[in-house]
């Protein structure tokens, strides 16, 4: 529906390959930016062109295009068939320039992040850098895979570099681990938005914040019970027992999602009328903006939930 119309709407532009290619050609001189733009050309080839001693295709952020391709192959069927993702207001995401995307977070192992990233990649043809808690980096294997798949540690410097210097899209979840770590009874109730750091980052980079309300992820892996002692023991942010464990068993249930229907609604971009590049912004202003964005996102979530007739069919 909405996604179809969007897909149709952008067909002519996607077909206009010369524009995109010329943009890529222009970017080749940029040492980092060129390597990160993955449509067109094999980045590993490009890496070896600039540096003949290189053997792999891992770029300076740790992203590997081979791993991206593998992940894309795994996510495409999930995106199209399992979650049947639909977008609303996708045209509000700019085709050029940086923007900070924020969204609500849900599900024990949040499925909204890869779906939003994959969706924007597919529908708009531009990469999204998912900024995630650096806790990921401490987990063997997971941290490496996450980094190879395009994940970037959520550090203000990293966000600034992506948004301001590269002019790319970054995706953050301001709730942090408190979002996915909530019980099924509290679903779609937004947690505190940290200390509003995302607003300050966007102000400094001079980019808009674009909130995305996401419905469906909470039900794809709902948490029934949390063990705080177990979490402490395993040094996890939370140790959940999910409905998936009951349906699919303890092993498969940890990695298998329930087929809830996903809907993403892109809200109006929030522009801040401040001078970019300052070291500090008034704390009160930052908190007010963050709270206003949170309120708006919460209202839209309630609206979407009110219109949703079925968890599984939307």
């Amino acid at each position: 529906m909405a996604s179809n119309s969007n897909r149709k709407a952008r067909q002519p532009q996607a077909g206009n390959g010369s524009e995109i290619e010329s943009e890529i050609d222009r970017e080749v001189d940029a040492p980092i930016g060129s390597l990160l733009r993955f449509p067109g050309g094999d980045p590993s080839d490009r890496l070896q062109q600039t540096d003949p001693a290189r053997r792999g295709d891992v770029d300076e952020w740790g992203r590997s295009e081979h791993m991206r391709r593998l992940i894309r192959q795994l996510t495409t069927p999930m995106y199209q068939r399992w979650f049947r993702v639909e977008w609303e207001g996708l045209e509000k995401i700019p085709r050029h320039g940086g923007a900070l995307l924020i969204a609500n977070h849900g599900g024990a192992i949040p499925s909204d992040a890869p779906m939003i990233m994959h969706g924007i990649e597919q529908e708009l043809g531009r990469p999204v850098y998912g900024l995630a808690d650096n806790w990921f980096r401490t987990v063997p294997l997971v941290g490496t895979m996450w980094s190879r798949g395009g994940g970037v540690p959520a550090h203000p410097d990293n966000a600034h570099r992506i948004l301001h210097e590269h002019g790319d899209l970054a995706l953050v979840f301001p709730e942090g681990a408190k979002g996915p770590g909530k019980l099924v009874t509290e679903r779609y109730r937004l947690r505190r938005f940290g200390r509003g750091g995302f607003v300050e980052t966007a102000m400094r980079a001079g980019v808009p914040v674009i909130p995305i309300a996401s419905v469906g992820a909470e039900e794809s892996m709902p948490i029934l019970y949390k063990s705080s002692a177990g979490a402490r023991l395993l040094r996890l942010p939370y140790l959940p027992l999910t409905a998936n464990h009951l349906v699919f068993g303890p092993v498969l249930g940890t990695v298998m999602y329930l087929p809830s229907k996903f809907r993403f609604r892109v809200l109006d971009p929030v522009h801040f009328d401040v001078e970019p590049g300052l070291a500090r912004y008034p704390r009160g202003r930052v908190m007010d903006e963050a709270e206003a964005i949170r309120q708006n996102l919460q209202e839209n979530l309630f609206d979407m939930l009110a219109k949703r007739r079925s968890i599984w069919f939307g």
Partner: protein, 402 residues
């Protein structure tokens, strides 16, 4: 009048390399190297004084020689090479004494260049992907090398604030690899193994050894002030380092890593200091925009540095070590430096033909020391203090005798 330069750690790899590079510069009137041991490479006109880092000697040295520049390359970055106490003495106390001597009220010092390391940033999961010069580290240092380097840098910083008339620059180099450098990573790679922590494949940066020397030289000549990160372009995952160098990865468990490595370390099969463990877990990236904007560009990338090491390592494995074992003979050195019997072409620049780069290991290596010596440069020949010092004690170079 040319530059008068004091160099620390002349007996170490970096001191020798930097001295060899600075010798080629005609603007350098006098080059004085300090070290606790004899120089390990053949040098043309560098005066050598065997000295420890005690303050009294340093301040006398600075006063007597009237040096205008101090190049401090003598910071130990490998904690497996000496005990914690010795490392602290060398890095922290040595630097403190050096700075105190340079900051004396009658000091002639106008520039100080410190060769530091990106170890001051540490390695931590909360790190940014790129450290800029002013990005603070994420966690207080927990190993002694990083702790001592942070202390050193704070002393250097204080010195720069207290002495605005002195151009102080601190260069933070990424891990160095190249043809000759000996570091824990190069030792492991030369044994054909690359230690790594199972489940982790972090990105690390390298800088080629000649680029380090070139960068120090560049800063000495340009009088650049401030802190600068220096690394080759690009970052490599540990797995790719192993692949380029033809080494097998030794997977250490992600938990109790140091304990698991200990038997290998004790059997001398592995070099695995604490600071390497953190690097192999989380990696590190330093942003080199500032030094590039100042005008220095490394000659090769991070992968190029590993490749250069790999080539030299293959050569060494096939034909053995090509470097001659240079032995410092004090009497011979004193003779060639100061005896009136040695013919020194006044005003000639002939000495630069066979000079090559600072990293050129082929310079006259198959001839006995002193026979194929390069001709003296004008600056050295005109040094009024040089020739008169022929009767100096071998462990104290010419200028000190006055």
């Amino acid at each position: 009048m040319g530059r008068r330069i004091l160099l620390t750690g002349l007996d170490t790899f970096w001191g020798g390399r930097v001295a060899a590079a600075l010798e080629q510069d005609d603007d350098v009137e006098m080059l004085l190297g300090m070290g606790t041991g004899h120089p390990s490479i053949e040098l043309e006109r560098t005066e050598y004084v065997r000295a420890d880092n005690s303050y009294s000697l340093l301040s006398r040295l600075v006063r007597a020689t009237g040096v205008d520049t101090i190049v401090h390359t003598f910071l130990v970055l490998d904690s497996s090479s000496m005990s914690g106490r010795a490392l602290h003495e060398t890095n922290v106390i040595g630097t403190m004494n050096l700075l105190a001597a340079a900051g004396a009220s009658d000091s002639s010092v106008r520039q100080i260049v410190v060769k530091s390391s990106s170890l001051v940033y540490g390695s931590h999961p909360a790190d940014p992907t790129w450290f800029k010069e002013d990005t603070p580290r994420s966690r207080a240092p927990r190993n002694r090398v990083e702790r001592s380097l942070c202390e050193v840098e704070s002393y250097v910083h204080d010195f720069a604030v207290d002495n605005p008339g002195v151009a102080v620059s601190m260069l933070r180099f990424a891990n160095v690899l190249g043809a000759d450098i000996d570091t824990p990573i190069s030792r492991n790679l030369a044994r054909g193994i690359m230690p790594s922590i199972a489940g982790f494949d972090p990105l690390i940066q390298f800088v080629e050894e000649d680029d380090v020397v070139r960068c120090v030289e560049f800063v000495v000549k340009s009088g650049l002030r401030g802190v600068f990160n220096v690394a080759g372009d690009g970052k490599l995952p540990v797995s790719e380092v192993a692949s380029i160098a033809g080494a097998r990865r030794l997977h250490l468990p992600p938990f109790f890593t140091a304990h698991a490595a200990a038997p290998f370390v004790r059997a001398r099969l592995l070099s695995f200091p604490n600071e390497l463990e953190d690097l192999l877990r989380y990696g590190r990236g330093i942003d080199t925009t500032a030094i590039k904007e100042a005008g220095f560009t490394p000659s090769t990338t991070a992968a190029g540095a590993v490749e250069r090491f790999a080539q030299s390592n293959r050569l060494r494995r096939t034909v053995g070590d090509q470097l001659p074992h240079y032995k410092y003979e004090a009497d011979i050195e004193a003779f060639f430096k100061h005896s009136p019997a040695v013919v020194r072409p006044v005003g000639g620049h002939a000495g630069h033909t066979n000079a090559g780069s600072s990293g050129d290991r082929a310079t006259g290596h198959d001839a006995p020391a002193g026979v194929t010596r390069r001709a003296r440069t004008r600056a050295a020949a005109q040094n009024p203090r040089g020739p008169s010092g022929s009767e100096d004690r071998p462990n104290v170079g010419g200028p000190l005798s006055h």
